[in-house]
């Protein structure tokens, strides 16, 4: 055996091993760096006034109360619309159609929608809702967020229902249970935590979405609970304030950014935890 070739092969192996370890370290370091800078810059802005006062004009004090409220309302309504649609469509794929060409098409299109640029969804909703109503509105934002959320819920619903063993369905059917009852009483119950996970992930994704809200909900400097009017929301306010030259606006933007990131990460960890719980039981 040629010693030098063996040595060279092992040197290459060692090099690649070290390189990929360093790469992983660098990526983890970046994640850490993002979180640390967010906390470092955002924490000073987290005080009661952030949650109690509306967005200020430059140079005066204020908070993000209207934006937080708008984000909560629009996210909640968007998810309320998307959940039944997503769960039923996912049910169709997993329980009724499975391998038919229609299911394959829907699955394919759904996966494309899942990664389609969210700004395109914004354009779409602008063209049908904003142009239709004649003005920007909270409702348009709700519709845009719902369209972003639907593919996520469809996907997880299908995946989770497919994890339910067919033996359970057959046992139900053997007792004479109608199919819809097998689905609602057996499949849904067995996959409940998985379905919940899908909804949680959708909430997490939607609550950070900015691009589709730019042309739909727009923004509003004042407290507003009317969904027919433009509505303030955290992501767009962060965008506007961060791009501004005013120091106090930037400060608020960091505070909002910290708030959103923590919410999104907490939701993701909660969703993961509920899946793990399921896997264990």
């Amino acid at each position: 055996m040629n010693r030098s070739i063996v040595n060279r092969r092992h040197r290459i192996d060692l090099f690649v091993t070290i390189l990929s370890t360093v790469m992983t370290g660098a990526v983890l370091f970046t994640l850490g760096a993002i979180l640390v800078t967010l906390v470092w810059n955002g924490l000073p802005a987290i005080k009661p006034s952030l949650f109690l006062e509306s967005t200020p004009p430059p140079g005066s004090k204020g908070g993000l109360a209207n934006a937080i409220f708008g984000s909560l309302v629009m996210t909640l309504l968007g998810i309320l619309i998307a959940t039944p649609i997503g769960i039923f469509a996912g049910t169709f794929l997993a329980e009724y159609a499975r391998d038919s060409w229609l299911a394959k098409t829907v699955r394919f299109i759904n996966d494309i929608l899942l990664s389609a640029p969210s700004i395109i969804i914004g354009l779409f909703v602008y063209s049908i809702v904003v142009v239709g109503m004649g003005h920007f509105s909270g409702w348009a934002g709700v519709v845009a967020l719902a369209i972003i959320a639907i593919p996520i819920i469809v996907r997880t619903t299908e995946d989770m229902l497919l994890l339910v063993p067919d033996a359970l369905r057959e046992a139900g059917a053997a007792l004479g249970t109608p199919r819809w009852m097998v689905i609602t009483r057996i499949s849904y119950r067995a996959a409940f935590q998985g379905l919940l996970t899908g909804v949680l992930l959708a909430v997490a994704r939607v609550s950070g979405e900015t691009a589709p809200l730019l042309f739909t909900a727009l923004n509003n400097q004042f407290w507003n609970a009317n969904l027919n009017a433009p509505m303030a929301n955290l992501p767009v306010v962060i965008f506007q304030f961060a791009m501004s030259p005013y120091e106090d606006w930037r400060q608020l933007a960091w505070g909002g950014a910290l708030l959103i990131t923590m919410t999104v990460l907490a939701l993701n960890i909660a969703a993961r935890y509920s899946v793990n719980q399921r896997a264990r039981s």
Partner: protein
């Protein structure tokens, strides 16, 4: 005659379940069917409204809209070339950064990492995918851009700038924001997606193949490069395409750091624009039918581009999946 009090109860239950069998099933099935069709309708609606919205611009400029470089709201002369090239260049930089890193990470997570900490590291990387894009934008603008301006870009200009050919990519003043920074941030953003797919397809390679290669004395790198990778090549390419689709359409992070300048430049350090950044910056301020229509036309170009990239990626992944279930 003795009557069982629960008899009555039972018979109503019978009728109820009878009705449930007769009407419940078709109603429930139609309901799920209708919502599944709705997913198709959403995509159809997106295509239709984009075409309709872009029509005034396409009628005036024709197909030349795609390769015209001017973008002038005053003379009302619009073309998609500059943002389109910006989109492609930033996505290309993102891939050049994202793909090797994803490969390294997937290799680390499937072959090198001790089993105990694989899951936590994989979760941490997935959290990177969960961070909203606006956070990457704000972080890139306030943390990375100053770093680029003060350290990295002067270094690039002085070291690579004088070189022939590639030197042209690193010219001009170091201002921090620009194509290079946007591409870097995009790379960081798509990395977790590609890593997740690569890890999954690496794990789909039968353990027997790995073990027989190790048994022949192959090193870890040789097993990965010569056995694992050839086995799941289509899946890996599919994952890269999905990442590319995301990089092409990403909006907010790019809008923060690209500089939004409508001109072509050979230098990667110069500010530029992408389709999504142009839309985010100009759409609500566009006045006049032709301006709005041109912006929607940009959206249409972006949509067609991402649609094909994502569709190809998805196809490859489905093919790879079918192969592993057969094997």
């Amino acid at each position: 005659m003795y009557e069982n009090p629960s008899d009555q109860n039972q018979s109503t239950q019978m009728t109820r379940s009878h009705i449930g069998t007769r009407f419940g099933d078709p109603i429930f099935q139609m309901l799920t069917f209708a919502f599944a069709i709705m997913v198709l309708l959403i995509l159809g609606g997106v295509i239709l409204t984009l075409c309709e919205g872009a029509w005034p611009a396409l009628r005036v400029f024709g197909p030349a809209f795609v390769w015209t470089a001017s973008w002038n709201p005053v003379t009302k002369n619009f073309g998609a070339l500059v943002p389109l090239i910006g989109t492609m260049i930033t996505a290309l930089i993102a891939m050049l950064i994202g793909v090797p890193f994803s490969f390294g990470l997937a290799l680390f997570l499937t072959e090198i990492c001790p089993h105990g900490i694989r899951q936590p590291i994989a979760i941490a990387i997935e959290l990177l995918a969960a961070v909203p894009s606006i956070i990457y934008g704000i972080w890139g603008l306030f943390i990375l851009a100053p770093l680029f301006q003060r350290t990295i870009e002067p270094l690039l200009i002085s070291s690579l700038g004088p070189l022939p050919l590639i030197g042209a990519l690193f010219q001009g003043p170091p201002i921090g924001i620009g194509m290079l920074l946007a591409g870097l941030i995009l790379g960081l953003m798509v990395l977790p997606f590609i890593t997740a797919v690569m890890r999954e397809v690496f794990l789909s390679v039968p353990q027997v193949l790995r073990e027989s290669a190790y048994g022949l004395g192959a090193t870890r790198w040789e097993v990965t490069w010569r056995v694992v990778l050839p086995y799941c090549r289509t899946g890996v390419v599919g994952g890269i395409m999905l990442g590319l689709g995301r990089a092409l359409g990403e909006t907010m992070a790019v809008t923060f750091v690209i500089g939004n300048a409508h001109h072509l430049s050979t230098s990667l350090l110069a500010p530029g624009t992408t389709i999504s950044a142009t839309l985010a910056n100009e759409f609500t301020e566009a006045d006049g039918e032709i301006y709005t229509a041109s912006l929607i036309g940009l959206g249409l170009v972006l949509f067609v581009l991402t649609f094909f990239v994502l569709a190809i990626g998805k196809r490859l992944l489905l093919g790879a999946q079918a192969r592993t279930t057969l094997a």
